[in-house]
């Protein structure tokens, strides 16, 4: 008897979310690379992260890759678009952090608008992860970017009214972030829904743990959310995923520590890139739809891995 490949079929699908002219979600398979189980209308996307201010204490590997442009978010974004072929740009407004530079929402909105106007790929704008300030910042960013559709975030259980409101008021999409918890992810989508934000506007940020630093928790929460959505038909969880991978991967000691300090770890440059790429590939297998990365070489690696599935 000939071998017949088993196929996992689900009668539910992930909601398709359109960010400008780019779509994510729409699949009825567990992850966006399981094309052997069924059609994947919108394969996962790679966004490259751009900070709104020159990063401090970056690992040399990253400085070598983007150090020529990393004091100018517009140039940086253009380089990611033109040279590194990113699908999207994720602008992180780290300078708005009240515990740091505390830049105003208006200034941040100007930067976001300048990046949006310069690029011709879709834009994600993330705050500094200070709930209250992010609410304020996203309102200003949403208004400044009105007319094009961007992905705003993250909304959490404290600021979902303001961030969700910015999405509703200016027709943007919103990333809903919960702390690696399937029940809380569902609750936040319900709360956003109660506010009037439709599922077609929501992407889930399940909170990403880097390789070696909690990635297994993120992995299993993403799987549980996908199974609830596809196997149980849980309408509130049929959202695509966004994962802030670069940020977490490059925090790891293993990605940064020099060869002289840890000779057994091997070549520093390769190591950091692999750390980011492997984090990404793990989460790709868990169902990531938008992977936010930092290094152009890991972008290439992840893309070549994905292409294997779509041959």
């Amino acid at each position: 008897m000939a071998f017949k490949e088993p196929v996992e079929k689900y009668n539910n699908s992930i909601t398709e979310v359109s960010i400008s002219d780019l779509k994510v979600g729409g699949q009825s398979v567990l992850t966006g690379i399981y094309s052997f189980d069924g059609p994947v209308p919108n394969p996962p996307k790679i966004a490259m992260e751009v900070l709104d201010v020159k990063p401090e204490e970056w690992p040399q590997t990253l400085v070598d890759a983007v150090g020529d442009v990393y004091d100018d978010p517009v140039k940086w974004a253009l380089k990611c678009q033109n040279e590194f072929k990113a699908d999207m740009i994720c602008l992180s407004l780290v300078s708005t952090d009240p515990n740091g530079m505390n830049r105003s929402a208006e200034e941040a909105a100007k930067t976001a608008k300048a990046v949006l106007d310069a690029i011709n790929i879709p834009l994600i704008v993330y705050g500094s992860l200070n709930s209250e300030k992010d609410g304020e910042v996203m309102k200003a960013v949403g208004e400044a970017c009105h007319g094009k559709v961007i992905l705003l975030g993250p909304a959490d259980d404290e600021n979902y009214r303001t961030v969700g409101g910015a999405s509703l008021g200016y027709q943007h999409k919103v990333a809903a972030a919960s702390p690696i918890d399937v029940n809380l992810a569902k609750q936040l989508n319900i709360l956003l829904g109660n506010l009037g934000v439709p599922l077609e506007s929501i992407v889930i940020d399940p909170t990403t743990g880097g390789l070696g630093y909690g990635i297994e928790y993120t992995f299993s929460v993403m799987q549980r959310i996908r199974l609830a959505a596809l196997a149980q038909g849980d309408d509130k969880l049929k959202s695509p995923f966004i994962n802030m991978i670069g940020k977490e991967a490059w925090k790891a000691r293993e990605a940064k520590i020099s060869e002289s300090e840890e000779p057994s770890f091997g070549n520093l440059a390769t190591r950091g890139i692999l750390w980011e790429a492997i984090t990404a590939i793990n989460l790709l297998i868990a169902g990531s739809d938008i992977m936010v990365l930092r290094h152009p070489e890991s972008v290439k690696l992840v893309r070549s891995f994905m292409n294997e599935f779509f041959k």
């Binding site: 399937v182 029940n183 609750q187 319900i190 709360l191 149980q232 969880l237």
Partner: protein, 299 residues
């Protein structure tokens, strides 16, 4: 009392409580006696006296608490503390009924210090399925804990009938798999330990839910579900009148609905009253058919 359904142990006399804690420390009888009377009037079969770890002067506190409560009620008591010295003081102080020790678990220290009390006084005890490895992760680990306790008890000639097995209820908002593991394990208790009774800290299932009223919906639903799975008794919030009504034989329509759903029946929500809908939605969540969220009743 003929149609009594689930034996209830009232949970509210607890040193963690804002009113009871200070009353115990200041030896102020009035608030405690008031609560004991209220719990008895609510239909409780036992009163749990929870002193927590009671490391400092636990024996003196337990002795005083037992006497204080026995002055106003004839109900038997659960002595709820991890301190064996306090347990013995309570066993000695009780004059009306022999109290139940709450609890003895499978940790070596717990078995070594508390089983001798069971042997000496002939009292019952809650057998909590917890071991030196911590809280069991599934039904099998619960069984291993229970076997350890049973074996240690049997070595001292203590029969299964003395055990009130508590397989540890954990919150639905934290880990569905633990809620399911409890449901899987409960019916196995009679096979593993014939003659034993079962009990549980029911209210823990709703820990983390946003309001007291929402918590009660989960507690009530879970009690009915566990009744179907053979639960003998539960440590409960006796101030929840609807829950006590059920425990005392009421809510037949709700019990029918919950039991049928546990056998696979899917009701048409539009034909149910709002109250029935709340139970039905909670059953779905507690069976893992729908993923829990704090807004589970609104969906």
């Amino acid at each position: 009392m003929s149609n009594k359904k689930v034996i209830t142990i009232a949970e509210s006399i607890n040193i963690m409580s804002k009113t009871i804690g200070p009353a115990i420390r200041e030896k102020n009888k009035a608030p405690i006696q008031k609560m004991a009377v209220e719990e008895a009037e609510a239909g409780a079969d036992y009163l749990d006296l929870n002193l927590g770890p009671a490391r400092k002067a636990g024996d003196e506190m337990m002795e005083w608490l037992v006497k204080t409560v026995e002055e106003v009620t004839d109900l038997p008591l659960f002595l709820d503390t991890t301190n064996p010295v306090a347990l013995e003081a309570g066993l000695k102080a009780a004059k009306k009924n022999l109290p139940v020790i709450n609890s003895i678990d499978a940790r070596q220290e717990s078995l070594a210090t508390k089983l001798p009390l069971v042997e000496k006084y002939g009292c019952d005890f809650v057998a909590l399925t917890l071991s030196d490895e911590g809280i069991p992760r599934d039904a099998n680990e619960r069984a291993m804990c229970l076997v350890s306790i049973m074996t240690a008890a049997a070595e001292r000639g203590i029969p299964n009938e003395k055990l009130w097995v508590d397989p540890i209820v954990l919150p639905i908002s934290v880990d569905l798999n633990q809620v399911l593991a409890f449901q899987e394990f409960l019916p196995q208790v009679q096979e593993i330990c014939p003659g034993a009774k079962t009990t549980c800290g029911l209210s823990n299932v709703s820990n983390g839910a946003p309001t007291d009223e929402l918590r009660r919906v989960l507690n009530r639903t879970y009690l009915i579900m566990l009744k179907k799975l053979g639960l003998y008794s539960a440590i409960v919030d006796s101030y929840d009148k609807e829950l006590m009504d059920y425990a005392c034989g009421g809510l037949q329509d709700i019990e029918d609905l919950v039991f049928k759903m546990m056998d696979g029946y899917e009701p048409d929500m539009s034909t149910l009253t709002e109250k029935q809908q709340h139970y039905a939605k909670s059953v779905r969540v507690l069976l893992g058919k729908v993923l829990y969220s704090h807004s589970w009743l609104e969906l």
